[in-house]
Amino acid sequence: MSTEIFGIEDVNVWVDALIRVLLVVGFMTVVVMGLIWIERKVLARFQQRLGPTRTGPIGLLQSVADALKLVGKEDLRPRNADPWTFELAPYLVFIPVFLGFVIVPFVLDWQIRILELGLLYFVAVSGVNIVGWIMAGWGSDNRYAMIGGMRAAAQGISYELPLVLSLLAVAMVVEVPGTDASAEAARGSLNLNEIVASQHEVPNIVWQPLVTVVFFIAALAELNRTPFDIPVGESEVVGGPFVEYSGIRWSMFFLAEYAALLIMALVFAAVFLGGWAWPFGIWMDDAPPRWAQALVVAGKASLFIFLVIWVRASVPRLRIDQLMGFSWKILLPLMLVQVLVNGLVLVYDWPEIILTVVGLFGIVALFAMVERAVRHPRPRPMTAAQLQGEAAS
């Protein structure tokens, strides 16, 4: 079997895949380091600070300096830690995250692999790193780490559902254009490239406003970002599963975290903001150059990343019960209703404007439900008097 890369014909598919993987992973690692610098700079601006300024011009080399320092540090393992679990955990967090890059559509027809079930693949691999978190929490033999690992598991599983449902809601109704402008459009696709191509006129955020919001929230939770950062909450569990890690292993967790943010941003750009297709369109006579497409995708991904940093700078952390309640009682029912509506639109061929209207109503409902949950909180788990009564009996 052979394929074509960079105009070279007859390249073995394995060689081709290897070249693509090395290119993407190498490039992305650099981007991730840049991302850490950007986050520190933007966050500093929100807090009226300057951020890193000393390493390189405007602190650009700060991540490099940090990485060098971390690599040079001693790789400590607590004596009571489970050696295999402890040492393998970073890989189980790191590898699934980078596997996600396989399907990310950077520009038209250029990515590692175009998978027919790309979205399913993305959801599948992005869920695996929860295992790594639990392993890190359990293997460290530290109680903070264990609480953090358990929190990560509970949160990861709970927010996987709204995330998957939001992607499903989009995937079931996208109108995939045919191979050329005259061909009949088909509906529904899990192929990320087709999903992007389907948005060449209007991005999905217009048809699916509620789904976009829910995806953003669920993505924050999947990425363990504020306000859903309870697994690593500095003021409570002091870094959670990472508490015993140092040096290169710790930096692998860190790298994985930012790589996950980057992938989530690229998927968000592809699924909801139209990726490389919008606003260029795909059937123009002279297709836009690839660098322009890449710039558009980067801009859309940056928007997502900026929003994430903005949220981080301004909101407190949720409590575990509120976090779970938010997913199961608010996001999940809303997404189920949205999927139902999308199904009706699909079956009865209703106009798509219905989706927009329902989505906007859904956002209002989301705010109303949050408001209600804040004004009428759940009763506390137990009062001191009840606990004493329990102990006495």
Partner: protein, 379 residues
Amino acid sequence: MVVEASTPFEASEFETQDLLINVGPQHPSTHGVFRMVLEIDGEVVKDLVPYIGYLHRGAEKLCENNDFRQGIGYMDRTEYLAAHNAELSYVMAVEALAEIEVPERAQWIRMILCELNRISSHFMFLGAFGVDVGVFGTPFIYAWRERETVIDLFEEISGDRMMYAYFRAGGLAWEVPTNFVERVQQVLKSARQGVKDFDGLLTENEIFIARTKGVGVISAEDAIEIGMSGPSLRASGVPLDLRKTEPYLYYDQLDFEPITAEGGDVFDRYLVRLQEISQSIDLIEQCLDRLQDGPIVPEKMPRMLRLPEGEVYMRTEAPRGEYGVYMVSKGGNKPHRLKVRSACLSNLQALKQMSVGQYVADAIIILGSIDIVLSEVDR
């Protein structure tokens, strides 16, 4: 080979054990070297045992070996976030024993500095509390910016940023700078903006409300029984403010009401402190209106102060509550016995009652909401 049927699991075999976790003395949110051992069942706190004493320095005993001027410096170090208020209790105790008449101008400046110190201390609380609740650094920096303006002013006046040692028995160490009034007004302007910023950042934040409302409730009766004081007590609805109930300095000439709240929860303790910043700004403006030129020390002050025999308990309203100094003199230039009544120590006693039955994350913000200064707890 006979395979024995395994007995089905009984409920008792699944008995669970509560987990003990040790929070502190090295933990990001224990506000110093406080340590507490939490017994948790899942995420719910079943029991809490506080341990104090990591910062015990014997400040009171040290004061007994130093004369009345040197003791002021040790008072700074018991309550480093509100050093002026701590000094005030001490010098007022000395003045009461020695029956010194303090000049009017010195009293007004003392009041202004104590209220400014209340502002800086409360801002410190707001910043640290915001971080406890989980905002990454933003409230901390906002609070630090406002606190910094106050601290800069203190530095201009006393030459030190934290350990001022500016009050003296009888008055003040030296005259304030000539642009004192303008500088205070500048600080007040910036503090007023700081209060607005916090209103926007935290008070109206849905997640903040969800996290703090109804958490760590303590009733007025319990709070009084434990001996709480200051904003933590007033948040439970008890209008006890020593500035109002037993006025010292010239607080009786000022127009203000103690700030209280009904709920007694974490949110109310936060809100009372935020409003007290506004109140202090108002009080300082009233003080500035009444500030006159004049001497800052009495005319006939001995070089070495010797007190008559006697004992006195002098309490004032510090930012964290009642800060009292009990002083026994048997003549001579040193106190025979000195005891500091710390508001933080008393308030801390409520921690267990407020935290048991709540979530782990709540225990952290409840500890934050009491606003302890460990050097005052341990002294």
